[in-house]
Amino acid sequence: MILTIYPPNFKLNHICTKGCEALKSNKSQGLQKLTNNGLRKKNSFSKRLKSNKYLLLIFMPGILFFIVFEYIPMFGIVVAFQNYSVWRGVFGSQWVGLRHFIAFFNGPHFYRLFRNTVLINVYSLIFMFPMPIIFAVCLNEVRAFKFKKLVQTVSFIPRLISTTIVVSMMVTFMHPSTGIVNTLLNLIGIDSIYFFGQAKYFRWLYVGSEIWQDTGYAAIIYLAALSGIDSQLYEACFIDGGGRWKQFKHITLPGISTTIVLLLIISIGKLLRVGAEKIVLMYNPLVYETADVFKSYVYRIGLVGANFSIGAAVDFFNNIVGLLLLIGANYISRRVSQSSLW
């Protein structure tokens, strides 16, 4: 299902009549430019350059941002192979090759970071991934249009607010003595729990906040896919005596299966990607055991602790493996379901 946004109201008629007159005379410069470039067999480099002169002029300042802030940092990865010191700079620092990488892999932190990163994504896959699908399917079954719109509108609100606000709310609600979550637990007879202070709760808090914040937003894609299913199929099934469940099993599910598989594969491709922002917001030294992931480690040890080389090495490892996983996932997706990112 492809959607394009067409700009409204082209004034095509007016322009066309003028153009048609010019075509008849065939003397205007613009047309010569066009036909010259089209008919020219030896489209020499300098000619193409000239005709693209203005486009390149527009393009250069923009692409400069990409070069400076995306590609030059890629060259900066070289500090991972050095004992980088700020005074000596990139070119003056001592080269140490793979020493930082080897030290990291053999060190005490690697296994913990790896396990936490993967487990957080696994928890997310098991508990968060189905939620938007269930939500979208249930919402699709609603016949009252106004109610449907209302629910969708409301479900989208958590996505608007920042991660910081969400975590602030969570931390406040789960405070051991003044948080309402613990107040409710006390009413049932359970003692107050220091949620953010105990490592075993961290992954649940992380995935729980993800569910609250992202379900409505993620459901949009599924709702779009659901609306693309031909309603005649449902009619046919109904006539054949199929009830709601049969319709779901044989029409709805296959209809959105491509979307599900594609998103599933993207999620698996992100198995080693956990962003620093939410982790840094949610963790504290008490829960590093389950909370610390590669990116948060890079921030804490590499940036704040100014161990630039080690931080760059860990980050580079994380990014490279993430890229390889994504390529692999994309390849599998292309083979299995004929749909892929590229």
């Binding site: 946004i5 479900s155 606000i165």
Partner: protein, 291 residues
């Protein structure tokens, strides 16, 4: 739509409606609670009496916030960062996307790959920090919104939109003797206003909510945006009082201030939400399906 007159069909409908209402309630409750708690007299919040509606409303928390420069200054900073981010984001995105949308653009495929690659791989936190540092931007306001202006995702979005504009428009203009500049300014630009305002909105909101970038690059507390202040005022202090005794809790500063700060941070987004809802749904569908 299908009508189910069987009993099981009706039961499902009832349960479905109930559970969707429950989802709405769970979604909205935190906002209601934060508001109520921020307005209540602090003692009731501390003794866990506030659940849904405020008890003995008072504006003491908000007075405290407004009398202190921290939150007001953070608001001011955030507005600057959001506007700056929107401006740079739109300009850089358009400068890159416009030429890429023309098939006759020299090295078009290469440049497209050049831009798209940055979506999948990046140099990392440290090298980027070193570059920003080398440019002398660390601990300045520029570092917050300038490096993030280069977003391949938005470039692709705008490029696809521009490709939807019929080529015949441009050809006719060329025939009429227009040069590239006039085509861009007088024809394509006005037609791209919808997509540009969408991008501006996305940049505005993402810059408003951004936390990691200011955290990394800013050390001067006078330049902190709202999210950093929130982090310090609410999250860090909450985590610090895990081990407090009841006495210490009673003597610490007014608890409702935290709720007031949270509420003050989320109010702008809630207020503009009804107006921008259309943008979001359209923009995401176009982006997600085509991307």
């Amino acid at each position: 739509m299908r009508k189910y007159n069987s009993i099981s069909g009706k039961v499902f409908d009832v349960f479905n409606t109930i559970w969707l209402c429950l989802i709405c309630a769970i979604t909205l409750y935190p906002f209601i609670y934060v508001f109520s708690a921020s307005i209540s007299t602090p003692v009731f919040v501390e003794t866990n009496s506030v659940f849904l509606y405020p008890i003995k409303p008072t504006l003491v928390a908000y007075n405290r916030i407004l009398s202190d420069m921290t939150v007001a200054r953070a608001y001011y900073n955030t507005i600057i960062y959001a506007l700056g981010g929107a401006f740079f984001g739109v300009v850089v995105t358009y400068l890159v996307a416009y030429p890429l949308s023309k098939k006759r653009f020299i090295w078009c495929t290469f440049f497209t790959f050049f831009v798209t690659f940055t979506m999948f791989f990046s140099g990392g936190m440290i090298p980027k920090y070193l570059v920003v540092n080398a440019l002398g931007m660390v601990n300045t306001r520029w570092a917050v919104f300038v490096p993030g202006a280069a977003s391949a995702w938005y470039v692709l979005l705008v490029r696809n939109y521009l490709r939807g504009i019929p080529e015949s428009l441009e050809e006719s203009a060329l025939i009429d003797g227009a040069n590239e500049g006039i085509i861009l300014l007088k024809i394509i630009m006005p037609l791209s206003l919808p997509i540009l305002s969408t991008i501006a909105l996305f940049c505005l909101i993402s810059e408003w909510n951004s936390f990691m970038t200011p955290l990394i690059y800013l050390q001067d507390s006078r330049k902190f945006p709202l999210q950093i202040i929130l982090y310090r005022l609410v999250i860090l202090s909450e985590m610090a009082d895990f081990e407090e005794t009841l006495d210490q809790i009673r003597t610490r500063p007014i608890i409702t201030i935290r709720f007031a700060v949270i509420f003050v941070s989320l109010i702008p987004l809630l207020v503009i939400y009804p107006f921008i809802q259309k943008f979001f749904v359209k923009g995401i569908i176009v982006g997600a399906i085509k991307g």
